[in-house]
Symmetry: C2
Subunit: 347 residues, 2 copies
DNA sequence: ACGCACTCCGTAAACGTTTACGAATGGTGG
DNA sequence: CCACCATTCGTAAACGTTTACGGAGTGCGT
């Protein structure tokens, strides 16, 4: 099947009519339309995307840019795999397709995105792993490509983003720990480049101050957000002169490495050290003692993300009129055994 | 920047010359070319992909079809994230871009692929999670789209594929365990639909027969290849009347759930039960006792996959003349503590 | 002075769609 | 019988690019 021309020839109809029939335009006879659709089905005709895009200036494709960095591989982050289902559930309603654009680890994300955008391969973009200052946001704004960022950014003053409720998590984690008598609460954070670390720490700090607990920089453990990082975090924790009684992990998976290092030194999570995790990583559910952790539905997050994006695309705006421009995604605490003790209480 | 026409106008050159200059065609003056390239750079011009594809019938894009099923999310499989780096390292040399096509979980993979192929959005495809009988292979063959399958298939008699060395792993695992005195060796496998399970089991069976050990179907544990599945596998293992002394896991991550369930019953891996894993999942490296596991380089696998694909594309065939059509990818054993004991030996 | 080769560039067609426009037909009301 | 509308379809232009073809200019050998 070469193209619409062949199909039209076969049916002895003009290509214009065939096109209209296939695209559900009004001015075509019902019988004719039936014949066209039947023939297209039989011959397996599907419109060539290049021709269509060229003509109407849109591709019906949404791009999701991800990074295949070594760290991402190490983390084996299922975040986007989960989010994608939610995204697709929304996109499918509008016959939009989602493709993932993995930025090569040796290419500058900004340059990569620039290339992809200029090629006009997608109508809109979702970018992730947003940095505090992220030139990709300016790029997309200037190019007038609808987009949504996963993760807030200072560049994104008035552009749409969705982000996890880091403040709420840090806040509630600190409150919960303090209520159980903890005073020395450690926290992990990634390098300050990444935006989420900043917000997370800030909220942690304010929560402490509310309870007149001085912020102690030595309790901020800067490690990678991976199991390896968790292992290292535990290591550094154990080296501290005045050992904390609790630790908040910015990434759930870190608990696996952390537990291991603690066990090696005979420190038992949930008895000698309270541990609270964050985000969603199914595999950490098998830890013992079970991890207290803030979790969420990746599917729902994806669906919200999809709606937000469509609300920013001229062609779909009216379908999603009241979509919020920014969302701080709430998380729910799944209580576990890892922080189920009072400080000073007899065991 | 609208298009090549604007650029040509700006430079007061015809669009033909501009196109030739940008594409490195020979018949254009050096000075002219310099000017064109400079102007393109300055104005941020990049050729519209739709126009280009339409004209030359190719997109310079390779598609990698993945599945975002619930199981995939649960596994949080880093397999493709790792493989992608290797793929891109090869593709980058030919200015090819890789996009990932996530098949919605509620759509038939075959129909999805059909849609994507018909749209002519990619020049070639990599398909994964190949089933024993996989109609996608016929589809691609008939459509004459170059492709490589990750995972062998009976449909793919003479089409290119790459697969892990399941035979070798099962074989060596059994040999290793038998050498340490094991006679009752359990093995996990996914539902028989998936091709890899079939091959894995078959090799396991043959290895046993070589040592005159009768194949016992009750020792084949059919569970999902996830942590959850590992937990369940351990559970079923413990219920067996005559408990095996060793178990081979088809997926490394299962060890995490398996360990947990074993521990709950006071059964210690590496002392009461030997455990050997398979494939690459960095997070399982933190298990204690450490897991004996067959591993590989995802990057190298990706690079080989990329070369194999290019060797099957007319435009690049001559660059990779001696690329094998089928590869069984070898894995190396990383010895750990989980199988470091002799059956019957005093502890 | 002429032919020839070579370099550089402009012209125009082609890729496969969609869609604005208008033509043809049939029906209806006056 | 005419004017008018509705329905249905064909025609042709347009989207942005690449490329075959040929023309203009220059240099060189005869």
């Amino acid at each position: 099947m070469k193209g619409i021309r062949q199909l039209a020839e076969q049916l002895d109809i003009s290509i214009g009519t065939v096109s209209r029939a296939l695209n559900g335009k009004p001015d075509v006879n019902d019988e004719t339309r039936r014949r066209v659709l039947a023939a297209a089905e039989e011959l397996g005709y599907v419109a060539n995307q290049s021709g269509r895009s060229l003509r109407q200036g849109e591709t019906k494709v949404i791009g999701l840019m991800i990074e295949s960095s070594a760290e991402a591989v190490e983390n084996a982050d299922n975040f986007f795999l989960g989010v994608i289902s939610g995204l697709q559930s929304v996109f499918a309603r509008h016959k939009l397709d989602l493709i993932m654009l993995p930025c090569p680890s040796d290419e500058d994300p900004h340059e990569y995105l620039k290339r992809m955008v200029a090629r006009r391969i997608v109508d809109a973009m979702i970018i992730s792993n947003t940095q505090r200052i992220d030139r990709r946001i300016d790029l997309l704004s200037r190019a007038k490509i609808p987009f949504v960022a996963v993760g807030r950014s200072v560049s994104a003053s008035n552009s749409p983003w969705i982000d996890l409720d880091f403040e709420g998590v840090a806040d509630r984690a600190v409150e919960r720990l303090i209520a159980r008598g903890h005073r020395r609460i450690a926290i992990t954070a990634p390098s300050s480049e990444v935006n989420l670390g900043y917000v997370f720490l800030d909220s942690y700090r304010r929560a402490l101050e509310r309870h007149d607990i001085a912020f102690d920089p030595s309790l901020v453990i800067r490690v990678r957000s991976s199991e390896q990082g968790g292992y290292q975090a535990a290591h550094e924790l154990l080296l501290l002169e005045e050992r904390p009684t609790a630790v908040i992990l910015i990434y759930e998976l870190m608990a696996i490495g952390l537990y291991r290092r603690l066990m090696e030194s005979g420190v038992i999570p949930g008895r000698d050290l309270a541990v609270i995790g964050f985000r969603d990583a199914p595999r950490a559910q098998f830890l013992q003692p079970s991890l207290s952790c803030f979790r969420m539905s990746l599917y729902d997050l994806g669906a919200a993300l999809g709606r937000m994006l469509l609300a920013n695309m001229p062609a779909y705006r009216e379908v999603y009129p009241d979509e919020a421009c920014n969302i701080i995604w709430p998380l729910e605490l799944t209580p576990g055994e890892s922080d189920a003790f009072q400080v000073g209480a007899m065991v």
